[in-house]
Structure formats: C-alpha cells, structure tokens
C-alpha cells in the first residue's frame, strides 16, 4: 500500500474527499477496516472487490446513508471541504444534500417523472424555475428526449434503464458535489448499461463520481482511479491503468486477471 503513493504524488488532481483510516463497524464487528484514500475532483473512482468485501458499506458511509442501519458506527475521519463528515456539528441531512446517491436497483418515487425530479429541490428550498431545472437535469441524464412529451406520466411506466437514468437525473437536480453510485448497472441490460456508462463520461466534467461495481471491465472502461478492496481492507488504490496493467500487490493482480473472486 505504500508503493502507489509515489505514483499518486505525480498527478495534480484535486482531492474532494479524503478518507483517513476510516473503519465501519456493524455492532462492533468491522466491515471496513482503516481505509485511507482520496477521491479526486471531476474524476471517476471505481471501488471493486469480491462480494462482501465492504465496498458498498464504504460507499454508503460517504454520504452517511449508514446512519439508517442499526448498530453502525464509524471510526476515523472523512474529510469533505475541510470538515469531518462525522463531526459533531455536521447535519447528516446537509451531507446528503451535497453528496448524492444512485442505488443498485432503480428506485423512482411512485409519482410522475416531473415530480420525481422536482421533489428534492423543492423540499430544499429551491426558488428558481422548476421547469428549467427539470429539463436541465433530465438532459444531463440523457433522458430528456425520451420523456419530454410525457413528463406527467408515472415514472413507474419507464423501462429499467430509463428509471435508472431518472434516478441519476433526480440526484443531479440537487447539484451535488459528489455522486455516489452503488452498482448502478447491475439490474440493467447491456444496452442500458452502455447508456449509463456513456452518461458517466459526460457527467465527470461537472461532477465527481464514485462507483461501486462488480464488473471489472466496467471499472476498467470508465474509471480514472480504482480502489481494490478485500475483506474490509483497501488492498490497493491507484490510477485505473496502473491497477489493471501493473498492480503493485499480488492479490490485486490475481483479482483483476480473474484468478479468484
């Protein structure tokens, strides 16, 4: 874990999130163990690793969604804009407003397409033109052309891939600094997956993206940085090229070449 640092020091990417020995415990049992790394601005960071390695748990701790799971506690520091996200005076509602999330299974509200987008901004006191915001968010999620004539139809009538893009649009409408994606394509067919991957390329000029994925090809295709986790430990973190072509740790090499996991 010491070797990649020299490599990271060479680049001048700006860190948005900094994890300092972050551990996540379920009723005292650690699921994530002392993970330290940085999430860089306007880059896509992929977290890969076998099932149950703690990658989703780690992702959910980045916007305090773990607060809703009974018995979870966090150790270490998670710095965001100079503040520890788990600091005493930090309001988790405010954290989630700035760090958005897209879930594994598309979970649109059982409301119209329009209201799916508009609800988040409206409860957070958005005062601009809602119609413009809805159009802008749907356009950013590459969904506008498909739904512009039926904005007031139920979101549940959309296909799975469209629903997931709607969920991305819904998160983007909050204009988050960071977008967390928890295996966003695992419930989708290959064409919808390709759509979302293209979309992520587009989005990284404006947003910082962290994606958890089971699919190593996907991580290799879309991400700039890759974190490889196993049994709660961060085994290796580095630029995606390096992780996939010349990893420093043997376990990483075995995993990315498909020899286990």
């Amino acid at each position: 874990m010491s070797a990649p640092e020299t490599e990271l020091q060479r680049n001048h990417d700006e860190a948005v999130l900094e994890l300092q020995e972050v551990s996540v415990l379920y009723s005292g049992k650690p699921a994530v163990k002392k993970v330290s790394c940085q999430i860089y601005k306007n880059k896509i960071t992929a977290i890969i690793g076998p099932s149950g390695c703690g990658k989703s748990t780690l992702l959910r701790s980045l916007n305090r969604m773990n607060d809703f799971v009974d018995g979870v506690s966090i150790e270490g520091r998670l710095m965001f804009a100079g503040q520890d996200l788990y600091g005493k005076d930090v309001d988790p509602v405010e954290v989630r407003r700035h760090i958005g999330m897209v879930f594994q299974k598309p979970n649109p509200f059982p409301k119209s397409i329009y209201n799916n987008i508009a609800w988040g901004p409206s409860i957070n006191g958005y005062t601009g033109s809602m119609d413009e915001l809805v159009e802008r968010s749907l356009s950013q999620a590459a969904l506008w052309d498909e739904v512009k004539d039926r904005l007031h139809d139920s979101a549940l009538n959309l296909s799975g891939g469209q629903q997931q893009r709607l969920c991305i649009a819904r998160a983007l409408a909050m204009e988050p600094q960071v977008l967390l994606m928890d295996e966003p394509c695992s419930a989708l067919d290959p064409i919808s997956t390709a759509h979302i991957e293209d979309l992520m390329f587009e989005l990284k000029s404006r947003y910082t993206i962290v994606i958890v994925t089971h699919n190593m090809q996907q991580a290799a295709r879309i991400s700039d940085y890759t974190a490889f986790m196993e049994m709660g430990h961060l085994i290796e973190f580095g630029e995606t090229d390096q992780i996939f072509t010349r990893p420093n740790v043997k376990r990483t090499e075995e995993y990315v070449t498909g020899r286990f996991g």
């Binding site: 809703f68 009974d70 509602v93 879930f103 509200f109 609800w119 988040g120 957070n124 819904r170 909050m174």
Partner: protein
C-alpha cells in the same frame, strides 16, 4: 408408467388420497360456515323485512311497535362513527408512524408494541368500564356522545395502529432511501412518500376498525347510552343511543313484534356496515390505481 415401481405407485396413491381428503375437509368447513351465516341472514330478513319502511327509519322509539322506529339510533350511530373517526384516525396513524419510522428497535418500542398487541385482545366490556370511570365520571363528560366516542376510540386504537403499521411496513425501504439521499429529513420522507404509499392500506384498516366500533354494544351499555331516546343529539355533549343498543333493547322485550323490529334494526345495521366496507374497498382501489 413403466418408470415407476409398484410400491411407488401405491405410496403415491395414498398421498394423493390424503391430499384430496384434506381439500374436501377445508371446503366442507368453509361451506358450513357460509351456510350458517346464510340461515342467520335469511331468518333475520324474513322477520324484519316487513317492518322496513320509511316510517321505521324516520320514527323515534315508541312503546307501540307499529309506531316505533330507529331514527334516533341511526343518527346516534352516524354521530358516533364520525366522532370516532375524527378522534382515532389521527392518533392511531400518528402512533403507527412513530413506531415504524421514528422509534427504532429499542426496548421501549418493543414494550409498547407488545402492549398494543395485548390491548387489541382485551374484551370490549373492559373498555366500557374504563370509559365509565375516566370519561363519564372523572372528566365529567356525562353519558354523552363524546364519552361513547372516546371509549370506542380507545377500543379500536390498537386495531388501527396494528393495521397502519402493517401498511407502512409494505412501503419499500428503497423509497425511503431515495428520499433521504436527496437531503430530506425523516419527516419529509414520511409525509411525502411513506404516508401516500401506505394510504390505501391504512384506510382499509381504519374503516374495518370503524365498522367494529359501530357494531359494538357492551361498552355503550357500560357507559350508559340510553335506550329510549325521543330526540336527536344536537352536539357531542348530548346523550344518545345507537343501533346496537336499540336492537338489544327490542330483543329483550317480551312482545314478538319487538323481536321483528329488532330484526329490521339488524338489517339496517348490516347495510351500514356493508356500505362502510364497500367504501373501504373503493377508496383502496382508487388510491392504489393512482399510485401505479
């Protein structure tokens, strides 16, 4: 079947026989209970249908069967159901939301949960005694509609809370997470998403509980609803009677005409109950379709 041995066939036939036997047993029991209900309804219908006319609905009780009616009882029952709904729905739904969305899984929440489940099994007469002691005597609300409504609300609150919790629990967790991840507070999530999504289920439970309240007699007798009321209640503080009380009163008289009047009263009560249940189904179907 060449691939099945003799013993296997015998074994299989035995299992099929058992299966058929059990199915017939279940069907028999079902039809028996339906038949009993049908006999009951037909007897009541034959006794009461002759007395069922506008005069019956629109007259006050009388000691002459031909002039007696259920006007005050019907109005009393309608008053009761409105008051009970106004009292029990907000309290019951709030309690269910609190237990499901806010209380967590702590020891206190489990203790409350256990007690609510127990309360729903307490005999209604006990609620009547409670109502008499607390609302009629202690709060000095007298033998009024409001005493009756408060007592009935207590009686059906456990049912409402349990049914509402079931409905709230069917809302997928992913909807809550979606809302929370957009920077919503617990309350905003609950109000905008959990409550609308569970509304059909809550309404069904509430209306079924309300129809139980309308049919209950014992607590009302206990708190002293009158059985001879020749006036209509003008407000919640007035004394009152209700359909089950009136029916009970008529049944306990010796003259056979009054027994037939009671049967007519039962028909009216059944119609009111069926209308309420129909309303419950209608509301549920309508709101369910809106959500889809």
């Amino acid at each position: 079947m060449a691939f099945v041995s003799e013993t296997e066939i015998r074994n299989l036939q035995k299992r099929h026989r058992k299966s058929r036997l059990f199915r017939r047993l279940c069907a028999g029991i079902t039809w028996l209970s339906i038949a009993l209900l049908a006999v009951l309804l037909i007897r009541i219908g034959m006794d009461g249908i002759g007395w069922l006319d506008w005069q019956f609905l629109n007259s006050f009780p009388s000691r002459f069967p031909s002039r007696a009616g259920i006007k005050s009882a019907l109005v009393g029952t309608l008053w009761m159901s409105v008051l009970v709904a106004v009292i029990s729905i907000p309290i019951g739904v709030s309690a269910a939301l609190y237990l499901e969305e806010f209380a967590g899984r702590g020891r206190l929440a489990r203790f409350i949960e256990l007690n609510i489940a127990n309360l729903s099994g307490v005999p209604s007469i006990v609620y009547g005694i409670l109502g008499l002691a607390i609302f009629v005597r202690f709060f000095m609300l007298e033998r009024s509609l409001i005493s009756g409504a408060l007592t009935m609300s207590l009686l059906i609150l456990p049912t409402i809370i349990i049914a509402s919790r079931e409905a709230i629990r069917t809302v997928p967790q992913s909807i809550r997470y979606a809302a929370l991840s957009l920077g919503a507070t617990r309350w905003q999530t609950t109000w905008s998403h959990v409550l609308p999504a569970s509304f059909p289920g809550i309404m069904t439970g509430v209306i079924l509980a309300l129809s139980r309240a309308i049919g209950e007699t014992a607590p009302l007798i206990m708190i002293g609803a009158l059985s001879f009321v020749a006036f209509l209640p003008q407000g919640p503080m007035d004394s009152f009677t209700a359909l089950p009380i009136q029916i009970y009163n008529w049944v306990s008289r010796p003259q056979p005409e009054f027994h037939e009047l009671a049967a007519a009263g039962i028909i009216v009560l059944l119609v009111v109950l069926l209308l309420m249940n129909a309303a419950a189904i209608y509301i549920r179907n309508k709101t369910e379709r809106r959500l889809k």
